[in-house]
């Protein structure tokens, strides 16, 4: 019987088992990035900046140049790379603690300068690598290792909405929030990543994609329940959709 390949590993993804927990969203997003890089034919021009957190080892899975950054400093490091290598495709890959807590200043100022970089933000509402502590994006009432009674707005503040926050700035070119809550969400995530990578390639400027992402281990549920948590609970706090397109704000 003749075999017909209908799917294969992207060239930009290494053939190495991932260390992520079952049901984790990181592997999916790594694959989406690798597919987009392949489609655009830019593997030899792409530079990834890995965060501190579960995805620090992203470089084991991505078959292009990658470097680490200190916790939260990824947008500053990406700025330092892109400014001296303007013809390369530079993206920063960050989790919620990295991007919205310790790295908030770097995140906002890179966006405000309109750096011609792409930021892929994995929001799973918890710190993963350190053991499920409260993140800036942990939902109100959500139980974590450091909010054992549930996140209390009165003392811990409400979850930080990064797309909305960045959308107050004038310089970003594209801001979008997607959710890995099922195949349709995955396809939207892929399209959004392609949009910001193409924007950077064309010199349009700063692109930001927030990916609501499953983390069954620290969302304290099964992988299937985690998809529902992402699509229902998280999306209720973090509305999905386009916030900025082509440099123009989208009215809600």
């Amino acid at each position: 019987m003749e075999e017909k390949a209908i799917y294969s590993r992207p060239d930009s993804l290494t053939d190495r088992p991932m260390h992520y927990c079952p049901g984790c969203g990181h592997g999916t997003v790594h694959k989406l990035i690798a597919e987009v890089v392949d489609e655009m034919g830019i593997r030899e021009k792409t530079i990834g900046i890995a965060p501190v957190g579960c995805a620090v080892l992203a470089y084991f899975y991505m078959r292009f140049d990658v470097m680490e950054a200190a916790h939260g400093r990824t947008p500053a490091v990406a700025t330092g790379v892109k400014r001296v290598l303007p013809d390369k495709l530079v993206f920063s890959y960050q989790g919620d603690g990295d991007l919205a807590a310790i790295g908030m200043a770097e995140t906002i100022h890179a966006a405000n300068r309109g750096e011609n970089i792409s930021v892929v933000f994995i929001n799973n509402a918890v710190y993963g690598m350190t053991g499920g502590q409260m993140a800036p994006t942990t939902l109100t009432g959500q139980k974590t290792a450091t909010s054992p009674g549930g996140r209390l707005v009165e003392t811990m503040g409400p979850p930080v909405k990064m797309c909305e926050l960045l959308n107050t700035l004038d310089r970003p070119y594209h801001i979008e929030r997607v959710a890995l809550d099922g195949p349709a969400g995955v396809r939207k995530a892929r399209k959004a990543i392609r949009t910001i990578f193409e924007a950077q390639r064309d010199g349009k400027g700063y692109g930001f994609v927030e990916v609501l992402s499953p983390c069954p281990t620290y969302q304290r549920c099964t992988p299937v329940e985690s998809l529902k948590f992402v699509g229902n609970d998280m999306a209720a706090t973090f509305p999905l959709g386009l916030f900025r397109r082509g440099g123009e704000r989208i009215d809600a």
């Binding site: 030899e44 078959r63 790379v81 001296v84």
Partner: protein, 353 residues
């Protein structure tokens, strides 16, 4: 010979960086180094190079980290409290073995301190500062000429050893004007950087990291770093001597303090006291062997520094019990005067006879 000009020390550092082929400068306002950031804002973009006023000292050192990883020459500068903020980044540069130049125009501390010149960041500069077992090369100019020359050298050493290099100076050297001769001609091209992340075109992907989770890997990195530090110690010790041939009392000082020590030593000589000066130019690696040789002929050592006594620890480590070592120090932005040091020399001279 290059042009002879009149400049502040901070500007001389900036012009040195420009002439050394610095590709990108990232700064943040803090006194007393602001002239340097302003100099770079004026001159870097004009040459098609990168200048960013970062959102913080933390962001600035991490922009340096990115540019260094991309294989280009990068510099940042600050003053004491801002340098404290950069320590995480310097540790990462050391761990990832990236070349970079950091300038510390020291001011009084601890805390917010003041904006007067100080040398109280010696320990931070030469003993590590950030976390982990690492060293950075530390160069200490004592003139506007050296502010310029040592900045250029800092870029060369950073690339040669893939390591952060600090130019450790202070507000007085940064702010004062002196004539200097600018370096001539283009700086030698940086070495090839096959390790840089600049797109994996026609090669395997490069990876720049300082995280090593597999058992034993991090120890291997540290062993490699220590071998590199041994090589640097072997080759890169620098110092200046004045009247050390027959000296009875040896003054040891760097930077601004060394200028004062030289003035006091000259006056002491005129008064019949055989004083000499040993000035470490590289604070790490510390030129301890030469100091030990000199200690066998001097009767006493007087360390002059603008701190509670930090350099003096390396002096004592170098000379051991061979000779008594005293301190003439000022703290919190105070500067020793030539007459203070001279009085101390007279007292030591009398005491020893």
């Amino acid at each position: 010979m290059g042009d002879r000009v009149l400049m502040t020390g901070n500007d001389a550092v900036g012009e040195g960086a420009v002439r050394a082929g610095c590709d990108a400068y990232y700064g943040y306002p803090i006194t007393p180094q602001n002239e340097l950031t302003a100099y770079m804002a004026l001159h870097m973009p004009a040459k098609g190079r990168v200048f960013i006023q970062a959102e913080s000292e933390v962001a600035a050192i991490n922009m340096v980290f990115g540019t260094a990883a991309a294989g280009k020459r990068a510099m940042t500068s600050s003053s004491s409290p801002g340098i404290s903020l950069k320590q995480e980044g310097i540790s990462f540069l050391a761990g990832a073995e990236l070349p970079a130049v950091i300038v510390n125009v020291q001011r009084g501390g601890p805390g917010l301190g003041n904006i007067s010149p100080s040398q109280a960041d010696y320990f931070q500069a030469v003993k590590g500062g950030g976390h982990g077992d690492y060293h950075q090369i530390v160069l200490a100019p004592d003139s506007v000429q050296e502010m310029h020359d040592l900045t250029i050298l800092a870029f060369e050493l950073a690339d040669r050893y893939r390591t952060p290099v600090m130019v450790l100076t202070d507000g007085r050297l940064g702010q004062m004007m002196e004539p200097l001769v600018l370096s001539e001609g283009p700086a030698p091209a940086p070495p090839d950087k096959p390790w840089a992340i600049n797109g994996a075109a026609g090669r395997e992907p490069n990876l720049i990291r300082s995280l090593y989770l597999v058992e034993g890997e991090l120890e291997q990195l540290n062993i490699r770093l220590q071998k590199k530090y041994a090589r640097i110690s072997e080759s890169e010790k620098r110092w200046e001597e004045r009247d050390t041939g027959d000296c009875d009392i040896l003054l040891v000082a760097y930077g601004t303090s060394a200028r004062i020590a030289k003035g006091a030593a000259a006056e002491a000589r005129a008064a019949g006291i055989r004083a000499g000066v040993f000035r470490p130019v590289s604070l790490w690696p510390f030129p301890g062997e030469r100091l030990r040789e000199l200690a066998s002929q001097a009767r006493r050592i007087l360390v002059v520094e603008m701190s509670a006594g930090q350099l003096i620890e390396d002096v004592r480590l170098s000379v051991g019990e061979r000779v008594p070592v005293d301190l003439e120090g000022r703290m919190g932005g105070g500067i020793p005067s030539v007459s203070d040091v001279l009085a101390r020399l007279r007292a030591l001279d009398t005491e020893g006879r």
